[in-house]
């Protein structure tokens, strides 16, 4: 049909509009609470995107992604506090450290054929013993916490990220959109196709000439590296780091909810998932407060039930059916015309 609009073009327009809205709304609405919610939302969109690279595209389940957040956060914070090196340089060190950790875990797991759930257990184990190690690392504050100085001497808040929340909001927006575009570019390349082949059937992928080990390792390293900046932003936003939070297992689980709800293995799914889940969580908090219900755990229970309903009703996530309804494909699954 010639009249049908090109879904790729429509997708670009809608995504551009979406990005524009995210960029402009804080200018009109100066609300500290909304900005803080939006920061949380973008943070989860970004780490979800980075996690989805490994799980959604290469099919390797990591339940210890908080490790890369924590390593990124501590690396940049340590460089800043101990050596006076700013976050814009520190982030590269953070990326390198997280990539090395991803290479160690992926290298060990994939070399010895640790697959599926067992690989996921390995990722949890690494995150957990790193947490315990940091608890005893006095140079970085140990379990008592590691704190970044709040004072700022320079005139440019951007230079060492000593600025207002809005600065972090725009930083996260750039990070999230950049990650989206990067993932979109990578999955259109041979590596992205190899990831999907390995995800679908490892033996058939090998028989098609794909080096399965290298392909999976590339996913683990890239995913870890791309997660680390989220840790850096977290460290400079909150100005404090505790091993029990930075490496918390529940955080690893939280990180994967947005891509699961939005749609694993899609490009827009992790963003959409965060757009759905973060406000949902906040609304629950506000709603229960407004109703003056103070029952410990009730919010988590309601949130959990809502998650179960979403996953049961939309097992492939919210985005695939929504994309169809909007007449869009997702670049991850679209078949180009001849």
């Amino acid at each position: 049909m010639m009249a049908a609009p090109d879904p790729a073009r429509r997708g670009r327009l809608l995504f551009g509009g979406f990005a524009l809205v995210l960029a402009v709304w804080p200018l009109g609405i100066d609300d500290a609470y909304l900005v803080s919610v939006a920061i949380t939302m973008l943070w989860f969109a970004a780490v979800g995107q980075a996690w989805n690279l490994m799980m959604g595209f290469a099919g390797q389940l990591s339940l210890g992604h908080t490790l890369y957040v924590g390593l990124g956060a501590y690396t940049a914070a340590a460089l800043y506090v101990h050596f006076g090196i700013g976050p814009w340089i520190g982030v590269w060190a953070a990326v390198a450290v997280a990539a090395a950790a991803g290479a160690v875990i992926g290298g060990l797991g994939f070399r010895f054929g640790v697959r599926g759930v067992y690989f996921a257990l390995l990722t949890i184990a690494f995150a957990e013993f790193t947490r315990i190690g940091f608890d005893h690392l006095d140079w970085l504050g140990g379990s008592a916490g590691f704190f970044l100085p709040l004072d700022h001497d320079g005139a440019l808040p951007w230079a060492d990220l000593r600025g207002p929340p809005l600065l972090f909001y725009y930083l996260l927006l750039a990070y999230t959109l950049g990650l989206f575009l990067l993932c979109r570019a990578v999955i259109a390349r041979p590596l992205g196709y190899r990831w999907r082949a390995v995800r679908e059937d490892q033996e058939a992928a090998a028989a098609s000439g794909i080096n399965v080990f290298r392909t999976k390792l590339a996913a683990a390293v890239m995913s870890a590296a791309l997660t680390a900046p989220a840790g850096v932003i977290q460290a400079f936003y909150y100005n404090n780091l505790f091993p029990d939070q930075a490496f918390a297992m529940h955080r690893s689980i939280e990180m994967i909810l947005a891509p699961i709800v939005g749609g694993i293995g899609t490009l827009f799914g992790p963003i959409l998932g965060a757009v759905v889940l973060t406000p949902l969580g906040e609304a629950l908090t506000l709603g229960l407060e407004a109703l003056a219900i103070d029952l410990p755990g009730l919010k988590q229970t309601v949130y959990g039930v809502l998650l179960v309903v979403i996953v049961l009703r939309l097992p492939s996530g919210v985005w695939p059916p929504l994309a169809r309804r909007l007449g869009l494909g997702d670049a991850a699954t679209r078949t180009p015309d001849r």
């Binding site: 082949a197 058939a204 098609s208 078949t335």
Partner: protein, 245 residues
């Protein structure tokens, strides 16, 4: 064939033992370039084990497997594929959640010249096998014959010199068998692709193959022209079945 002109594939005294069980015992045979050779035998004869050794999934306990004189033993499946051995699986294994086009495109990536070139190669193979109309469908939605063709297209996109087909005709209707036999003959004649096939459909074996190698309990019991092999009393006894008097 002279001594200086090695066969495309040479299986030399290959043995595979799984713990105590000997699946393949001292099997030797060759596949000359350009030939179609069928590997037949009852279930459990060691045919698929032999395929898995040639394609690098298993390492032979003893013996050598040479492609154009080069020993393949110890190479992983990806390397074997890159050296020009394409394969299909007995239980078809397309990439289910990917489109037909992307399935074949992935095979075409092995040449290392990028996605666009691999996509062009994929369209070429889809056209050749009559699958172009299904290009945008997910592999999981195909019928069994379609999935078999898809796997063949994916293997062809890797540009094989030797194609290993593991029961590619099993489960097909007679008319579908005839169509695929014609396709295979075309690949062999037009492209010069050498084929080693594990096959139970004797009608196709007789129609297609230049040579038949018969395995029984891991041992080679016959190796020769199809007409000679099916007349061999040992083959009749072990595989084709003894006629009641």
């Amino acid at each position: 064939m002279t001594a200086g002109d090695p066969p495309l594939l040479a299986v030399e005294q290959v043995t595979k033992r799984f713990r105590g069980l000997t699946a393949v015992a001292e099997v030797s045979f060759t596949v000359p370039g350009g030939a179609i050779v069928a590997l037949v035998g009852p279930n459990g004869a060691g045919k698929t084990t032999l395929f898995n050794m040639i394609s690098g999934v298993f390492r032979p306990t003893v013996g050598a497997i040479r492609l154009d004189g080069r020993d393949l033993v110890g190479l992983d499946p990806a390397r074997v594929c890159r050296l020009g051995v394409g394969r299909t699986f007995q239980l078809v294994r397309p990439f289910p959640a990917l489109t037909v086009l992307d399935n074949v495109l992935i095979g075409g990536l092995v040449h290392g010249d990028g996605v666009a070139a691999a996509r062009a190669r994929a369209w070429h193979e889809l056209d050749r096998l009559g699958l172009a109309g299904l290009a945008a469908r997910l592999a999981a939605s195909l019928t069994l014959p379609e999935r078999k063709l898809l796997e063949l297209a994916r293997a062809l996109a890797t540009g094989p010199r030797l194609l290993l087909l593991d029961e590619v005709l099993a489960g097909l209707r007679p008319t579908e068998v005839d169509q695929l036999v014609a396709v295979l003959r075309g690949l062999n004649q037009a492209l010069g692709i050498t084929i080693l096939m594990v096959e139970h459909v004797m009608r196709a074996v007789m129609a297609l193959s230049d040579r038949v190698v018969v395995l029984d309990h891991g041992v080679k019991i016959a190796d020769g022209a199809p007409a000679t092999v099916v007349a061999d009393p040992r083959v009749i006894e072990s595989y084709l079945g003894v006629e009641e008097p």
